[in-house]
């Protein structure tokens, strides 16, 4: 048996791989080709009801559940002049410190109004520590068509319970007008 020279044998793996399809992911140029799994724990989001009112009631249960002490919340009372959420209470200050967050998702389980969920966004790196403390404005869900930005009143004739059971389908002209002001 002819012995293949050492030098060629050593390159065997290399040559073989020259004919295989590369598995390198071209991040970040082609990241759309490789989305995370649907239930990946990414950046948090503070959701809104269909009319744009916030779901967060500032109850701090997320902060309580957090094993890394990454969440800071301050609640406040809604008034008739300035309403951010249905019901009595809303979250005035909402901060998540992504230097601390371990993406465990216990906060999501704790949230009583499904205000807090996690997106698939994973690109949480920055060049300054301060930038990694996300404020409420960074975490709030984008306004979808049909929503009016809070503060504005609740849909007329609806209670916070109606909101919670999903009866609200979109902002009314009155709400849009209030939000516009």
């Amino acid at each position: 048996m002819v012995e293949i020279p050492q030098v060629i044998r050593a390159f065997g793996t290399t040559f073989l791989n020259m004919f295989k399809k590369p598995i390198t992911e071209q991040y970040p140029e082609e990241k759309h080709l490789y989305p995370p799994k649907p239930r990946f724990h990414g950046r948090h989001q503070l959701n809104r009801y269909a009319d744009g009112l916030e779901k967060c009631i500032g109850c701090e249960l997320c902060a309580w559940a957090c094993p890394a002490d990454a969440i800071y919340v301050e609640g406040e009372e809604n008034t008739d002049e300035e309403r951010f959420s249905p019901g009595e209470r809303f979250g005035k200050v909402y901060q998540i410190n992504y230097l601390r967050c371990i993406m465990c998702g216990l906060c999501i389980e704790a949230c009583p109004t499904r205000a807090l969920t996690m997106t698939n966004e994973f690109e949480l790196a920055d060049d300054e520590r301060g930038k990694l403390i996300y404020e409420k404005s960074d975490l709030l869900a984008p306004l979808l068509p049909g929503m009016a930005p809070a503060p504005h009143s609740m849909v007329e004739g609806f209670t916070d319970r109606d909101y919670y059971s999903g009866k609200v389908t979109g902002a009314t002209p009155k709400q849009i007008e209030e939000a516009g002001n």
Partner: protein, 791 residues
């Protein structure tokens, strides 16, 4: 096991002990002990909502059901007194008790909303906790929960959410039994039962905050704390109230260096477990208008300066000047002690006075001989045990609300009679069922002399207030009567730091601990405690605040050091302002004050939450506290004075830290027996209409700034006269009345009330009625009145 009675229980000797068995453990307790209390002593926890040791048992919530041998059904342990041989089985040893409690909990939760995430009580809620420990895992209820309108105000500060109420009646019992403001009631019956107030009658009480604290669910919440925080956010610290001389112990809850709420602390010897709304809700002054950096006046303007520059500037301004110290009535004992020492040694003067209010030389004599350095005197317990308590120039509810609660407790027990000598009737006097001797201001000494027949052979106590200083001969008459009948005297100032100021020697004739300026031996003792030579303590008694002001106006005083003084508190504030204008003023303050515009140097000191210290309450009890904000770098008054003293070339034995000042003060000991006061005769009775009044508990006081909800619970601001006086002066009830002095006027709605003859009563510092500012007179001064027309 033998359990001895504590103060809340019926007093008994060994023969009155009975033996009962709880969960198989025999316990010997005094007759009349409730089963739930005996279980507590054994460390057995029975769940409960309505039970509260300071309130009478009602067995309203039924949560504390236990099995008692021989009784057909489970019994509420909070209302069952133990009898000899009684066998009690709690949920720990009895299935009957356990399932009874689970059943009660299921009923309580039927109508309880599932809004724990929005509820302020969430996280510290007995209902949450006991539902977990003594409730079923699930509910069998399938109907719709009862709905009420969400939170409604029962007064401006306290909100009621009826959906959450478990009808335990703690709040209504508190209102009725403790505060004596029974407008809070249980209304309706059955499933509709709810706590409520009459539509036109809010829960007007100075003690309303306590109902929030004792509510076992989130039904009562306060506007000030509503939705602000969760218990796990908060750092709780024990502290002492800075508002009045009652000396309440408090629990201060803070987050990130900010006080979010205050609760009554538990101190059976002082405030039991209550406090007043001012102490509970007025704390924003700790954070508002704070001065953060030293300020120095340059070209007529204050500009920020560094600490070394400001200290040097202050020292240069004070060096070799004829100086005085006006130290207010809000200082801790340690700070007052430091001012006392600084004035004597560094400024070489006895010109010190803390009385930024009506004061007299007779009062000073009284304080010197009967208060200064006497240590713990008449106590709250003594008030409770007394047969007669006389209050003179002192309205307990308005001027020291915890004394009012203690007196009322004894009055309700029918062991105490209260006699009041004052210018007008009040809700407080009515609640105490006081024998009120209406007295025109200035005539107190005659009324006091007549007390002898009431106090003979009685265990009696006389409480005198700061207002008595405006009545010539009143202190003398009090001392004379007390000596004759063997009564004890308690001096109740209005401000929290006044007693400490007397003890620290912030008076022109006094050194710390009751030592006297003119006694060589006293000077030596004090000098050695300070570590200075005795020549450093001036021998000549100094000037009082009034004298300091007039001397400064005449150019005989060059420099004034002030602390916690508001010039608008005194009638001669125009002269006060002129005096400050003329002199070099060093102001030690934590927030912007009326003195700042005159100050040449402003040195910021820590607020009461930022440093340790000791208040001395009216009893003479030391109320020591630690800093709430442990990480604060703020300086105490004492440290700042120490730095100036060093700059002036004076050193002391200690470093002016709180602990070293405390031990330096205590090394001086206490005065063994009272001195002899120089008794003065009353002056002739005043003729004509005179001014009377007192401060409302909730008014325009600077420590109540920034509290809109609290301010809205203040009492109505009205002028009061008797119907005879109204008739004689042509005043009409319901109309406005114009009260005039030579320097100003006040217009207020008029109320016909029980007021002494030839007297008009005004609140001294309320909205629209600031007597010192507007009329520029003291109580007892003559005024003229006229009808101000319909409102």
């Amino acid at each position: 096991m033998t359990i001895l009675a504590n103060s809340n229980q019926p007093k008994s000797n060994d023969n009155d002990l009975i033996t009962a068995v709880i969960d198989g453990i025999a316990v010997r307790v005094p007759k009349g002990t409730l089963a739930i209390r005996a279980a507590e002593m054994l460390g057995i926890e029975i769940p409960r909502f309505c039970d509260h040791p300071a309130l009478s048992p009602v067995a309203a919530c039924r949560m504390c059901l236990v099995e008692i041998e021989g009784m057909p059904k489970p019994q509420p342990s909070c209302a069952i007194t133990l009898t000899e041989g009684m066998q009690v089985k709690t949920q720990n040893s009895s299935q009957v008790a356990s399932s009874a409690q689970e059943g009660v909990m299921e009923f309580l939760l039927l109508n309880h909303p599932l809004d724990c995430p929005t509820c302020d009580k969430g996280g510290e809620c007995p209902l949450q906790n006991q539902a977990m420990s003594n409730g079923r895992a699930d509910s069998r209820f399938e109907g719709t929960k009862r709905n009420f309108q969400k939170a409604i105000n029962i007064n401006a500060q306290v909100l009621l959410d009826r959906e959450r109420c478990v009808s335990c009646a703690r709040c209504t019992r508190f209102a009725d039994e403790i505060a004596g403001d029974p407008s809070l009631e249980l209304l309706e019956r059955g499933a509709k039962q709810q706590v409520g107030v009459a539509d036109d009658q809010p829960f007007e009480s100075y003690y309303s905050g306590n109902t929030v604290q004792i509510c076992p669910v989130g039904a009562l919440t306060s506007a000030a704390y509503r939705f602000r925080a969760r218990p796990f956010d908060l750092v709780s610290s024990e502290s002492v109230c800075e508002h009045c001389a009652s000396g309440c112990s408090l629990r201060t809850d803070s987050r990130r260096g900010k006080v979010l709420r205050r609760l009554a602390g538990d101190d059976s010897e002082v405030n039991e477990e209550w406090n007043c709304d001012k102490g509970r809700f007025a704390f924003r002054h700790l954070m508002q208008d704070r001065i953060t950096t030293p300020l120095v006046r340059e070209h007529g303007e204050l500009r920020p300066a560094s600490w070394p520059e400001a200290i040097r500037y202050a020292a240069e301004g004070l060096r070799n000047q004829r100086a005085a110290v006006l130290a207010g009535g809000r200082l801790t004992l340690e700070d007052a002690y430091a001012y006392s020492r600084f004035a004597r040694v560094a400024l070489g003067t006895n010109n010190v006075d803390f009385r930024n209010r009506t004061a007299s030389s007779e009062e000073q004599d009284f304080l010197t001989n009967h208060v200064a350095g006497t240590g713990l005197g008449v106590t709250y317990q003594d008030l409770e045990d007394a047969q007669v308590v006389v209050v003179i120039g002192f309205e307990p509810e308005e001027e020291s609300p915890i004394i009012m609660l203690r007196l009322r407790k004894a009055v309700r027990n029918k062991t105490l009679k209260v006699i009041a000598i004052d210018s007008a009737n009040s809700l407080g006097f009515k609640k105490l069922n006081a024998d009120l001797r209406l007295t025109k201001p200035g005539n107190e000494s005659a009324a006091i002399s007549e007390l002898i027949k009431d106090l003979q052979d009685q265990n009696s106590i006389i409480l005198v207030g700061e207002r008595l200083a405006s009545s010539h001969g009143a202190f003398s008459a009090t001392v004379a009567v007390a000596e004759k009948v063997g009564a004890r005297i308690g001096w109740v100032p209005r401000r929290a730091g006044e007693r400490a100021a007397v003890d620290a020697g912030l008076l022109p004739n006094l050194l710390p601990a009751g030592r006297k300026v003119f006694e060589p031996r006293d000077r030596e003792v004090v000098a050695s405690a300070w570590g200075v030579s005795v020549e450093h303590i001036p021998t000549k008694p100094g000037l009082t605040q009034l004298e300091i002001i007039s001397s400064a106006v005449q150019g005989e005083i060059d420099a004034i050091v002030t602390a916690g003084v508001d010039i608008n508190d005194v009638a001669n504030h125009a002269a006060f302002a002129a005096a400050l204008n003329k002199t070099f003023v060093v102001s030690l303050e934590n927030r912007a004050s009326s003195v700042i515009e005159f100050a040449d140097v402003v040195l910021p000191v820590g607020a009461i939450t930022e440093r340790a210290g000791t208040f001395v309450d009216w009893e003479g009890r030391l109320r020591t506290f630690d800093a709430v904000m442990q990480e604060s770098l703020a300086l105490t008054d004492a440290r700042v004075l120490h730095l100036i003293a060093i700059e002036l070339g004076h050193t002391f034995k200690d470093d002016a830290k709180v602990t070293s000042l405390r031990s330096s003060y205590s090394s001086l000991g206490a005065v063994s027996k009272p001195g002899t006061m120089n008794l003065v005769a009353a002056s002739t009775t005043k003729t004509g209409l005179v001014l009377a009044g007192w401060h409302h508990l909730l008014d325009n006081g600077s420590l109540q700034a920034g509290e809109p909800h609290l301010a809205a619970t203040a009492r109505a601001v009205v002028a009061k006269v008797s119907s005879e006086t109204a008739q004689a002066n042509g005043l009409i009830s319901g109309n406005r009345v114009i009260v005039r002095s030579k320097l100003g006027a006040i217009t207020l709605p008029l109320e016909i009330s029980e007021v002494a003859p030839e007297t008009i009563w005004l609140p001294l510092n309320s909205e629209g009625s600031s007597v010192a500012m507007q009329l520029q007179i003291d109580i007892g001064a003559e005024v003229s009145v006229s009808d101000g027309g319909a409102i």
